[in-house]
């Protein structure tokens, strides 16, 4: 009751907050569904090699990000976004999704996060 009173008079703000939370939740759900779907499709193959056959099997939005990263070698979400003309936050989501799928690696250097396919030293 106290909480209701505290929020009273701010219905628009509350709705906006709820919408924001739901959007975030939806994004996370999308990532999880995509990972599950992909794991099912690839469960017989080696999942962590980003070769051209894997690129062909990716959904369009992730393929664009993955091909751009292959071209750049390593990049931040911002650098990828410059090439794909999509928002940085969108690319960040896709890159993290590709990391979770095992195709990319991520490394923090200072305040920036760098994504790459494979380090030369690991070859």
């Amino acid at each position: 009751m106290t909480m209701y009173k505290r929020l009273e008079g701010k219905p628009t703000r509350i709705l906006e907050k709820i919408k924001e939370s739901l959007d975030r939740l939806n994004e996370k759900m999308d990532v999880m569904i995509e990972i599950q779907r992909h794991n099912r499709r690839e469960n017989q193959a080696i999942p962590d090699v980003l070769d051209v056959m894997t690129l062909l099997s990716l959904p369009d939005h992730l393929r664009k990000t993955a091909v751009t990263l292959c071209k750049l070698g390593q990049a931040t979400a911002e650098e990828i976004a410059e090439q794909t003309k999509r928002a940085r936050a969108v690319e960040s989501g896709y890159l993290n999704q590709l990391v979770l799928m095992g195709y990319l690696k991520k490394e923090r250097r200072g305040r920036k996060a760098y994504f790459f396919v494979e380090k030369e030293a690991e070859g």
């Binding site: 070769d51 051209v52 056959m53 690129l55 292959c70 070698g73």
Partner: protein, 258 residues
């Protein structure tokens, strides 16, 4: 900045190699600096056309990380007395070389893609070339898809064979479109009668433009002279007035505006 052009086809024997060589030669005559690379590791052919087998390093070595690309390239500029630079990179034609390439795993192919993608910097930027032309192996193979991903423009060579046309349509929707490549079709070995009049020609272009949903850059007439030469004659250089040379010149001009 220069462009990378990949010549690809669904089936073998469509004329990719002959067109690659003559397209390269046409650009060299136009004072463009060119590099022609044989990416058909299962059936290398450029060594036969350029009558050489004495490469110190092959493209196989470059993709294996044994050497850099400049070690692979053979300079044919002076031999052919052209205006632009004419560099050629050969694939290892020995049985051992072909066997070794066919046994590569997915991780190697992934690194090979990285090496091919870096050609944009090493050949177009550092060596200041105008065009890099990739002659690929037919169908859906690692080496050809790697080449397509690395290219700016894809030229698909197709004949009038029904299976070839169907395969090309499939590759358009399942390969070239997925990688968002600028793609053009070259109809090769078209029986001369089909293209006899202007009206017939227009009808032919309209039909295949609609069928492939891609621009038909040129319809090249079937020529006994080309077959008779057996792939050893560079028409653009040796027969400048031949209809095949004229067709390749039109293709070169259309690519420049593509």
């Amino acid at each position: 900045m220069g462009k990378i052009i990949a010549l690809h086809s669904y089936k073998g024997g469509t004329g990719k190699t002959l067109l690659s060589i003559n397209l390269a030669s046409t650009y060299v005559k136009r004072e463009k600096n060119i590099c022609l690379l044989d990416l058909d590791f299962r059936a290398p052919s450029l060594q036969a056309a350029f009558k050489t087998n004495d490469a110190e390093y092959w493209l196989n070595d470059y993709l294996n990380g044994v050497c850099e690309i400049d070690k692979v390239l053979i300079d044919f500029t002076q031999k052919h007395g052209r205006s632009g630079r004419f560099l050629v990179g050969l694939a290892n034609p020995t049985t051992e070389g072909i066997r070794e390439m066919s046994a590569k795993d997915r991780k190697w192919e992934m690194r090979a893609l990285g090496r091919l993608l870096s050609l944009k910097t090493s050949l177009l930027n550092d060596m200041d070339l105008d065009y890099v032309i990739l002659d690929t192996s037919p169908g859906l193979q690692y080496s050809s898809i790697n080449a397509i991903v690395s290219a700016d423009i894809v030229l698909v060579v197709t004949s009038l064979d029904a299976s070839d046309i169907q395969g090309t349509q499939r590759m358009t929707s399942e390969l070239y479109d997925l990688f968002e490549k600028k793609t053009g079709i070259l109809m090769n070995k078209v029986p001369a009668g089909i293209l006899s009049s202007r009206k017939e020609r227009e009808k032919f272009y309209k039909y295949f433009n609609n069928l492939h949903k891609l621009p038909i850059l040129e319809a090249i007439s079937c020529s006994c002279d080309v077959l008779r030469a057996g792939g050893t004659c560079i028409f653009a250089e040796e027969k400048p007035e031949h209809s095949f040379t004229k067709a390749v010149e039109k293709i070169a001009t259309k690519i420049e505006r593509f």
